[in-house]
Symmetry: C2
Subunit: 278 residues, 2 copies
Amino acid sequence: MCIVGLGLIGGSMAIDLRKRKFTDHIIGVDNNKLHSETALKLGIADEVMNLKDGVKASDVVLIAVPVNAALKLLPEILDYVTNQVVTDVCSTKETIMKLVENHPKRSRFIGSHPMSGTENSGPWAAIPRLFDGKVAILCDIDKADEDTCNTIKEMYTALNMRLEYMNSKTHDVHVAYVSHISHICSYALAVTVLDKEKDEQQIFNLASGGFNSTARLAKSGAEMWTPIFTNNKDNVLEVMDTFIEKILAIRRCIKNERTDELTEFIEEANKIRRVLSK
Amino acid sequence: MCIVGLGLIGGSMAIDLRKRKFTDHIIGVDNNKLHSETALKLGIADEVMNLKDGVKASDVVLIAVPVNAALKLLPEILDYVTNQVVTDVCSTKETIMKLVENHPKRSRFIGSHPMSGTENSGPWAAIPRLFDGKVAILCDIDKADEDTCNTIKEMYTALNMRLEYMNSKTHDVHVAYVSHISHICSYALAVTVLDKEKDEQQIFNLASGGFNSTARLAKSGAEMWTPIFTNNKDNVLEVMDTFIEKILAIRRCIKNERTDELTEFIEEANKIRRVLSK
């Protein structure tokens, strides 16, 4: 198989897909020379090729690059496709699906989103078992050939992922709620604290579990996240507006010492226990 | 010793203070009968008394109740004090310190804040080793007798905590940044998602590490947090205003697709890696 993008996601998938015998030969493609050389040294890729040769020489092509890069590469990759199966792993799906909807090789492609990651990046960040027990979403499967679907299902099954199916529009709405807004909160929180709490030693000394937990996502890189936010702009803005309303509601309660209302708000938030098991 | 408030914090301290031989007899005081009976059954307290008898029969009094309750109990407790050492564990310190500044027994009291916890509450939530390796802040130690300080230092040392010293005003500013705003974010995030994402099964299916991490604090109870926010109102409002500014800045970048500015913002947030080690 060919993996385009030898970073955290592509690299981590490579490790487990090889170990679990989904593939025995991985061709790596990455325009960052340091990444491709490192992937070779780490044994993530067996050989490195340019995009065209990599696609031509493979049965399965996995695109694991930021969504803005995927939007550029996917039409070119489909142009090279004869009978290969192609999937991408981007966190937003609608722009990608629209881009290729009329491509003659559309049915060889299936958009997917394995929902796992860490706040680190590059081939050095690749780790085994990153995807075990997590959800992989397959989008618009009715637009793909049956064997395309089956191959990608097999791939995520080899990664021990639970499969969910939805259309790309629904996907993008859901991820705005359960993933994108969390990252935005975390970025804003990190900048707030760094901006105002000039004494970094104190942040370090005092930051306990709570701050670590909410600010962890703020370590995630812009290369991946800037294009996610702009690609899912409408959904993200809508969720942000609701979030801002809620923050302002809490602010009013605190300012006017409306403790009953504040308690009600917190009890409403506590209901998240219904969906977060631990 | 006497522990007033047999919940998560009081109960967890009891477990380790007994195990590590800081005390061999714990008198529990709690106006919630279910809590005091449970604490007896769980072996957290050896016996249960009313407040006056509990204080009179002890050498050390630990107040582990929400800050609004502590504000009511502390003057009464100091009224009963002959030579006992008293500390509280509340997350805001300035209102407490002001309240007792002229009490004749002021020097038998030291305000402290062990920075650890979980999102659970009550004696059932008490666990061993909750405080190991975390920071305990002692406030305004110059206002306390030397033996008062020494006893409380011994107590936190038995809990394996690192000690930090600051005045109560500075304490309240710092915790607004590294703790209180995180909880507010998390509450607002939980309510946003519960409000708009009506399909709870989808939240459950899709919520991966990111959302879990930022929404975890939203499980924390109102009994403790409502009085924290109102007691630290001025600091919390100031941090919230900065946070709202930052959220609005991100919103503008996304709305106008100013990707360079958005990337800069994220790179600024990434600097939180300097202070969050893992």
